[in-house]
């Protein structure tokens, strides 16, 4: 054990996105490199037929039926479906049913979201629902619902740090367990498509009407997406004691630093992200040669991708040409506050099954930026994976996951 610190295992995962309403559907789509992004106009906005990663009504209905979930706002439905799947495969329900009650006071919830129940708020402003519907809007309500449903009576936090929200949520959950303040923390993220974000990113000229092409020389911008993902983080010996069915991976490093430069544009020298990666590596006590795969933020905007590659070059130097990296946003769309959690779950699947998902639509790298973008699915045993996210306000976050080897 590193520095005699408590180890943090991931014992449950749940996900819903344009790739599907379960871990199994998501895994199949990732292996096949099948994008969930397609032409849609969910709010019937004039001249807004866009490439979006929408969670289909059918997918959501099936997931809600399976777990008997009812609610008013899609953010709540997405999150609770992911929660139930994560609880189910962590074996927490069975454990409870056997009468071996968990210490609920030592179970926390940390959720990342930018928008909360924005769809309810938009309906209210449009006059189609009454004031009571506003109860679904505030961001903390989502955390409260997860805590109530999972019976958590420990710490609750709602992180809103733009597109790095749920990576920071996972990082804070990891630190909470390592410090000994909790045995289990449910961490995750959620965001839905909305008029606010669809028109907002268009106003910034950051979205593309074509399929997004992260890191490609001819990238045009991002495709928005939606979804949720939940991870059950658990102190390793606690997980072993209750004989949990899976230990998918371990969280072993977290870093987060600010650019302190601009409210929307990233630092073009990638200094914030560079410091973030350095902090995460130091926290994990890993050398750059020990990172097997990087799940990049990779929004496919000009500025983000250039900044991210600069930061990777700053840290990894020559190694950056050989470490495989991908942007799974080419498959899910950019799910904003949920992106970090969704990509963390994808990274867990990569470690668990031994594969690197592809960056679809990537053809040609930028001049002088010879990085090893995985174009097709690569099957390979992986021991470590780093997942990166960056957001408005110059927020950067990195988590490092490693394969659980039984030690």
């Amino acid at each position: 054990m590193r520095n005699n610190q408590r180890q943090v295992a991931i014992t449950g995962i749940g996900i819903i996105s344009a790739l599907g309403g379960s871990i199994e559907e998501t895994y199949t789509s990732l292996r096949e490199g099948k994008t969930g992004i397609k032409m849609s106009n969910p709010f019937s906005l004039p001249d807004y037929d866009m490439m979006l990663g929408v969670v289909s009504e059918d997918t959501l209905a099936r997931a809600c039926d399976k777990y008997n979930i009812k609610g008013e706002d899609n953010s709540e439905l997405f999150l609770l479906c992911s929660l139930e799947e994560a609880i189910e495969n962590a074996g927490l329900k069975d454990y409870d049913n056997k009468g071996c009650l968990l210490n609920q006071e030592r179970m926390g919830v940390i959720i990342g979201t930018i928008l909360g129940g924005i769809q309810s708020y938009e309906l209210f402003l449009g006059g189609s629902v009454d004031t009571q519907r506003l109860r679904s809007y505030p961001l903390f309500v989502l955390t409260q619902k997860v805590a109530d449903r999972a019976g958590c009576r420990g710490k609750r936090q709602t992180v809103s740090t733009a597109c790095s929200s749920s990576t920071i949520a996972i990082g804070l959950a990891y630190e909470e367990i390592r410090r000994g303040q909790a045995d289990i923390v449910i961490a995750g993220g959620v965001d839905t498509l909305s008029r606010l974000t669809i028109t907002g990113f268009e106003s910034l000229q950051a979205s593309s009407r074509e399929l997004c092409r992260p890191f490609d020389k001819n990238r045009q911008g991002l495709n928005l997406g939606e979804g949720a993902a939940v991870l059950i983080l658990e102190e390793l010996s606690h997980a072993k004691r209750r004989k949990c069915p899976h230990i998918y991976a371990e969280v072993c490093g977290f870093g987060s630093r600010a650019d302190a430069v601009h409210i929307t544009a990233p630092d073009r020298f990638g200094r914030g992200l560079t410091a973030t990666i350095r902090e995460a590596l130091l926290d994990a006590a890993l050398d750059i040669t020990e990172i097997d795969y990087i799940n990049m933020h990779g929004t496919a905007t000009q500025y983000n991708d250039a900044m991210e590659i600069t930061a990777i070059m700053n840290i990894f130097g020559e190694l950056a040409h050989s470490i495989p990296l991908t942007s799974t946003k080419s498959l899910t769309g950019h799910c904003l506050g949920a992106a970090g959690a969704i990509e963390a779950v994808i990274s867990v699947l990569s470690l668990w099954h031994g594969f690197i998902p592809p960056t679809v639509n990537f053809h040609e790298p930028d001049d002088g930026l010879e990085i090893a973008v995985a174009k097709t699915c690569i099957c390979r045993e992986l021991n470590t994976c780093m997942s990166l996210n960056a957001g408005f306000g110059g927020n950067n976050a990195a988590i490092i996951l490693k394969k659980y080897t039984g030690e």
Partner: protein, 320 residues
């Protein structure tokens, strides 16, 4: 690089702004007066010119929303109070951890009224960036060049205490030496409606107010090394679930100043309901009272904020 291991955490700076003033003295005076707010609808900050207090982001100031202005202003005051001279050009690892339950509401309302009600298809690109919730912590980091961890917590009425607790954990665990932390809220047309919808008992509604309360939390060793003024120590942070409702309708005349700052309901009766910012004001006032009165040196002050469903965060302060 901050050292690993538990560190003692102290408060070394305070910056405030509310309709009741821009100094800790004005807020303590109001507590001493025990004057309650009138049951009018809300209390807004007036006569505040943001451009007078913002330097690096002066050109952006008119595009920002009030909670951003309040946060930048109060953070500047807190840093100055703590004797921290920040040079935005230099690298530092000062963290910014802010709490706000509803500060994004005004900008989202402004933006969405254009899209939803006025059918404006592509609004100005300058409005959208301000609709994210973390502008308060982001703008502080940009204005003062603070490059450490940067987080906004959106935890409803307990946002301010959630942020201070998060900053405490960061320093206590050796991940940072200094953090700028606190809470901010601003009034908006929708805010009252959202609060009404969330309220279990409408009688519990106090007049809404706005403002920001910022604190500098610092590792004790670092504070001593640079001879920083120390208000008090944060001796404990606790999270629990206890179904105890906050005491209401207490007679303010029967309470000491220190008791008032520990009673959420009494504090809100004096200052109005600043929602997620209120706990940060309570902590700031308690810290100032502890430093001002040597008689209180042996007291441990506990500020506990309950979310209404039983979830409670409490922060204990004591004189050094």
């Amino acid at each position: 690089m901050p050292k690993a291991g538990p560190s003692r955490v102290v408060i070394t700076g305070i910056g405030l702004i509310s309709p009741w003033g821009i100094s800790i003295r004005e807020h303590i005076m109001r507590i001493k007066s025990r004057e309650k707010v009138l049951r009018k609808s809300e209390y807004a900050i007036s006569n505040f010119v943001p451009e007078d207090h913002i330097e690096k982001l002066k050109d952006y100031a008119r595009r920002m929303y009030p909670a951003d202005h309040f946060s930048i202003f109060a953070a500047g005051k807190a840093l100055k109070d703590a004797g921290i001279d920040v040079n935005p050009k230099l690298d530092n690892s000062i963290a910014v951890i802010m709490g706000s339950g509803f500060c994004e509401l005004a900008s989202r309302e402004h933006y969405l009224k254009r899209v939803v009600n006025r059918n404006e298809i592509i609004p100005s690109p300058f409005i959208f960036p301000n609709t994210i919730s973390n502008t308060i912590s982001a703008y502080i980091s940009i204005e003062y060049g603070l490059k450490g961890r940067n987080i906004t917590l959106a935890d409803s009425r307990y946002s301010g205490v959630s942020a201070v607790a998060c900053a405490y954990d960061l320093i206590n665990s050796g991940k940072a030496e200094i953090a700028v932390t606190g809470g901010a809220e601003e009034l908006s047309d929708s805010l009252h409606k959202v609060i009404m919808a969330l309220q279990k008992e409408p009688g519990d509604l106090l007049p809404l107010s706005e403002g920001a309360s910022l604190l500098i939390l610092e590792n004790l060793e670092s504070a001593l090394k640079r001879n920083a003024p120390i208000y008090c120590e944060i001796s404990d942070v606790n999270y629990k679930n206890c179904h105890v409702q906050p005491s209401r309708n207490l007679c303010l005349r029967d309470l000491s100043e220190l008791e008032i700052v520990q009673q959420e309901w009494s504090f809100r009766e004096i200052f109005g309901d600043m929602l997620g910012a209120t706990p940060a004001f309570m902590i700031a006032c308690a810290a100032a009272l502890l430093r001002a009165d040597q008689e209180l040196a042996k007291e441990t002050v506990s500020i506990a904020i309950n979310d209404g469903s039983g979830y409670t965060i409490s922060i204990s302060l004591k004189s050094l």
